[in-house]
Each structure stands twice: as structure tokens, then as C-alpha cells.
Symmetry: C2
Subunit: 357 residues, 2 copies
């Protein structure tokens, strides 16, 4: 396997922003998009970073699925709740503004929520939830996605991998950051297996007869699909399915969109599921902030002392390992796969941007 | 196996309320407790209904773990967020008041949240989330519980089964009601297997070496435990664990309590984990109510048309089957196991209440 190259995160951000600007995004939006993509790479979520820039976002901009000059509209009847129409704008930009709106309302009232319709793919959900952290708030984000997951006992995909992200501040310890697909695995893990030519474990994907698929290239569109978290009914698949449906309701139905299950995708086009839900809650709306942060630190430290089985290291809470990785990558650079480097170079050539990473 | 007897739900509620009143609960609190317990039985959640009355609640009242005359205190600095000290009151009563407070705040501001410390076991979480439905709100409830679930790769239980409940109104269709432990199965399913003398599937419980336990009587306190939703790390156990920890934070740390992992249980006493989190959001804070309800109905109906595998019936969303069961049981009575009938009769004799069910 060819070796990965370490890339300076600042330079990567500048380059990515230039790509977006050359494609027609306003400078501020281009810089925001670049920042969010590189943030995913810094935290080790390569499936949602710059590897997606060319084949996913640039392609969809060219196809006209993404509107680079959206006129988003906010509608609200109560101080802490609102819905937003994203006008098919870049998910990063729409998501950032919607979460900022939720935070603004939480500043004043303790909590704030915005449901968004007509947006597009917003990358990794953790970014938006984590926007709450520097305001000493708890952040939450959800997004729907194109159906790829089957209900327990079903033959066809009806719900997306629909991730839930929650960010909660701590004191000296890294924040708690849960960012999970509600399927057994995120779609990116299957893409990686296809790219590497490896098999996938039983329990990730089934075919149209409900039989396990271990060759990831044997997935067929429209029949069978990924399994909801829990896997089988006996081991709790109804729960993963229920969580995925919850996300569909909070993102699509609550924002006034059509649920992905009901969207009729025109033959020859690709679907879009770009409905989100964002929320923020002030920690000091419940108890004093210092008490909360101290107790979070004590809680995280108590987990570090819990005995583990041979082969398992210290128990970390979600967000801990990602924070360590980010510190390391800020220092030593982000490792990019040669195929990703090639795609970035091609974008540079095509758009007349010097590749200097 | 002895046959179950069908019991009239109204009579069962009156009897249960009398038991609580005889034990010293104020009439209003006794009636509320009875209503919530019977509501669980009506929805088929027998593990959280009157079967628990004698051996769990009455016993804990006698042990002094539950305070029947609590002075709960609410503390709030922002319009939509508050914390409550439950003064070791009955979880049903404290939970009901805290959720009512969240709803009251949501009426005015769009959303409302209350984190509760120093309460006790509140029964089935769905009840509180469902309180939001008649106000056309989305309801959420969470509770911590005594650690019985191991982190991925750990030898000892550190987190409870920590359920998450979400209730969302529909139009003509039954509401969406998700009520799920964040472990593979709720503790009640293991209790049922012990009672029936049956084995449990691999993947529910592990011993202190991380090996699967299929004889439910072979569980040992303090070593090994139940598995988080997902089961193994490869199939997403980090997600179930992350959800369970999220619930611990929202219920215990956010309310100002000590997290169950850090509670030192005195030898010879039983632990109590009675911290909750409640929330409510106005649907019409986001989009018009009728639009939402129509789209919920369309969504639920679309699922009813999804093709299923042989042996599986129509796909129902969470809350649908429970609503059907409640209608049937309101008509035909609640089936109670003879052992539960015996326990109720014993309570009647002990407390001087006529058993007339």
C-alpha cells in the first residue's frame, strides 16, 4: 500500500477554501467549508474530510445540486424554536448559521433549537454540536441522509445512517463528543473496505433476502442494505432503527421537509437528503458551570481507572481519542492517502490554483 | 405454566393507589403512582408495572430509601432550563412534576428542560415523554440507573441501562414513542428469563473475563455485566456505551448529582440512582401543527407499505404496537401473572385493603 503523506492543516485549509471560492462560493462561505472539512480530518474522521471534496462536493456543485448563493430563510414563532429553509445551500454554511442561531437563542433563554430543510450534505455532525462548547453549552446535531439502512425484517432500505452528535464541555479533560451513525457502522467504513479490497464483518450489511453480505462490492442499490445499530431483532435492532427514525422526524418532518422515505428520486439523478436539527443548552441554566466542569473531569478520570480485559487499553469517553489525535495532527500534519492528494492536485490544475501542500 | 388472569385496569389503579396511601403517600401522589404503574402494564411493559409494586417500591419505602413526604426544590436562572432536587421522593411524583414544569416553560418559550437529582426509580420513562403529547409537544425523558452494563473491553459494570424515551405526536396514527434501554436489552428481560428458567441469547451478558453468559443465573454482581447496545466493538458497542454515558451526564452531572459510577454504595445497603432529565418542545415552534401531523401520518403509512421478509409482518414505528395493546387491554383487562396476583393479595392482607380485582 502506498504511504500516506502528512499535510499541514493550515495550508490544506487555505487550498480547500480557494477551491470553493474558484467554484463560486463567497469567500466567507468558502473559508467556513474548508475549516469544517479539515476539522474532520484533524479528528480522524477521514470519511468526512477533504477526501470528499472532489468526488462529492465539487461534483454536486457542478451538477447544480448545491446552490452556492442561497437565500436561506428563518421562521420562528417562539423564542427558542425556529425552522430554516436552506435554499439548497452548502450544508456546511447552512448548518453553521443554523447552529449559531440555536446558540444565540440559548444565550438568552437557556436553550435554542433550529430544524433545517432544503440544505445539503453538511459533513461531520460533530462540528456543529461542538460549536456549543466554547459557549459552555451542550450542543446537539442530527441530519437525515439518503436511505441505505433496512428496518428489522425488511428487504429494502428506508432510513439513512442518520447520525446523532452530542458535545458536552468538561474542565481540563477533553469534552465528551458522541458522533454516531444510528446504523451498525457509518457508510464510510464500507467505502473504505471497498477501496482496500477487504471483506466486511457479518452484521453490517444484508442482501434482499436478509442474508449477511461480507463482500462489500456485493451490495445492490434498492435491495437489502445496512443494518440498524443492534443488528438483529434479538440484539436490539429495533432500537437502532428507532433512533434512525427519530432523526428522520426531527430533521425532515419537523423542519417541514418531505421525509427521505417519501422522496421520489428522479431516475438518472441522485437523491439529496439535507435536513438537519440543531440544539444548544446552557450548562449554567441547570447548575453552576464550575461544579459541572469539575464533576465532568472527575467522571472522565474515574473511567480511566476502570479495569479492562487483556488487549484493551484505558477506557476513554467519546471525544477523548479524537482530541488527542487532533493535537497530534496539528503538530505533525494530517496524513492523506495518495489518491486524495492526486484528487486535490487535479482540482488545483483544473481550477488554476497552485498546489503547494 | 399457570395461566394469566385478566384484571380490570380501573380497579387495579384504585387498588394500587390504596396501597400507596396506606403506606403513607398523600392521596394525590398515591393516585399518580398507581396511574403510572398501570399505564406501563397497559402498554405491555410488564417489567415496569404493578409486578414491581411489592418487591421493589413497597420494599424500598419500608427501607426508607423512598421519602413519601418530599420537599422538592426547583432552581432556575434561565426561562427554559432548571434543576430540581427531589428530596428522595417517589420517582413517579418527582418525575411528573419535573416534566410538567418542562412543559409549562415550553408553552411560553417553545422549549423547556428540567434535570433532576435525588429522586428515586420512576418506572417506565415513556410515561413522562408522553405527557408532552396532549400539549402537541415532543417529549423526552432519560434516567440513570445502578451500573449493570460494562464498557466495551471492560470487566466491571460502570453504567446503567440508562433508558432514553422520546414521544412525538402524530395525527390519526398512534404517536411515535421510543422507549429504549441503551444496553442490548433492558434488565427486565433478564429477570424474566430467570423467572421462567430459560437461557438468554449470547450477546446480552458477559462474565468478568468478557465471555458470553447464557445462563442468566450465572450473572455475578460486580464482575462482568450486561453489554451496551451494539454488543461487540466491531458491531457498534461504543455507540450504545456512548448513549448510556450521555444519559448519565444529562441526568446526574447536569442535575448536580454524583454520577452513579462515583457513588460509594455502603456495604449491606442497596444503591439508588434516581437522577432524571426531562424536556419538551412545541411542534408549532418549528412548523404549523397540522402540517406536522399530516406528514407524520403519511410517514407512518409509508412504512406500512414497505415490503418485509417472510416471517415478518407490517413494519410499525415504535409506539404503534404499544398503542394497539393498550386499546386491547383497556377493553379486555390486563393479564397478570399468578405470582403478581399473589403479591397484590399479600399487600392487601398486610395493609388491610380489600382485594376485589
Amino acid at each position: 500500500m502506498p504511504e500516506e503523506v502528512r499535510i499541514n492543516p493550515e495550508k490544506l485549509t487555505v487550498f480547500t477554501a480557494r477551491v470553493m471560492e474558484k467554484l463560486g462560493a463567497p469567500r466567507e462561505d468558502a473559508e467556513l467549508t474548508a475549516k469544517i472539512l479539515v476539522a474532520a480530518d484533524l479528528r480522524g474522521v477521514e470519511s468526512h474530510g477533504v477526501a470528499h471534496l472532489k468526488m462529492f462536493y465539487v461534483r454536486r456543485i457542478k451538477l447544480g445540486i448545491i446552490n452556492l448563493k442561497p437565500q436561506s430563510k428563518l421562521s420562528s414563532r417562539f423564542p427558542t424554536t425556529a425552522s430554516m429553509d436552506g435554499d439548497q445551500g452548502l450544508g456546511f454554511v447552512i448548518g453553521h448559521h443554523a447552529m449559531a442561531e440555536a446558540i444565540k437563542r440559548a444565550e438568552q433563554y437557556g436553550s435554542g433549537f433550529v430544524a433545517v430543510r432544503n440544505s445539503t450534505h453538511f459533513g461531520a455532525g460533530a462540528y456543529y454540536a461542538m460549536m456549543a462548547l466554547k459557549h459552555d453549552m451542550i450542543g446537539i446535531s442530527m441530519t437525515d441522509s439518503i436511505p441505505g439502512v433496512v428496518a428489522p425484517g425488511s428487504r429494502v432500505p428506508t432510513v439513512g445512517t442518520n447520525p446523532i452528535s452530542v458535545a458536552i464541555p468538561a474542565g481540563k479533560k477533553p469534552p465528551f463528543v458522541l458522533d454516531m451513525a444510528t446504523s451498525v457502522v457509518a457508510g464510510g467504513k464500507i467505502e473504505i473496505a471497498i477501496r482496500k479490497g477487504t471483506s466486511i464483518p457479518e452484521g453490517w450489511v444484508v442482501d434482499g433476502d436478509g442474508k449477511p453480505v461480507t463482500d462489500p462490492t456485493k451490495r445492490t442499490r434498492g435491495s437489502g442494505g445496512m443494518l440498524p445499530l443492534g443488528g438483529t431483532p434479538q440484539l436490539g435492532a429495533y432500537k437502532g432503527f428507532g433512533l434512525g427514525v427519530w432523526v428522520d422526524i426531527m430533521t425532515s418532518i419537523l423542519s417541514g421537509a418531505v421525509a427521505p422515505l417519501l422522496v421520489q428520486v428522479k431516475p438518472g439523478t441522485e437523491g439529496n437528503a439535507g435536513d438537519h436539527f440543531f440544539g444548544a443548552m446552557r450548562v449554567d441554566g441547570f447548575i453552576p458551570l464550575e461544579q459541572f466542569k469539575n464533576n465532568m473531569d472527575n467522571f472522565i478520570e474515574a473511567y480511566e481507572k476502570v479495569p479492562t480485559l487483556p488487549g484493551f487499553g484505558t477506557i476513554r469517553l467519546p471525544g477523548g481519542p479524537e482530541a488527542d489525535l487532533e493535537a497530534e495532527r496539528r503538530k505533525n500534519g494530517i496524513p492523506l492517502h495518495p489518491a486524495v492528494i492526486t484528487a486535490l492536485k487535479e482540482l488545483g490544475t483544473e481550477l488554476g490554483i497552485e498546489y503547494n501542500l
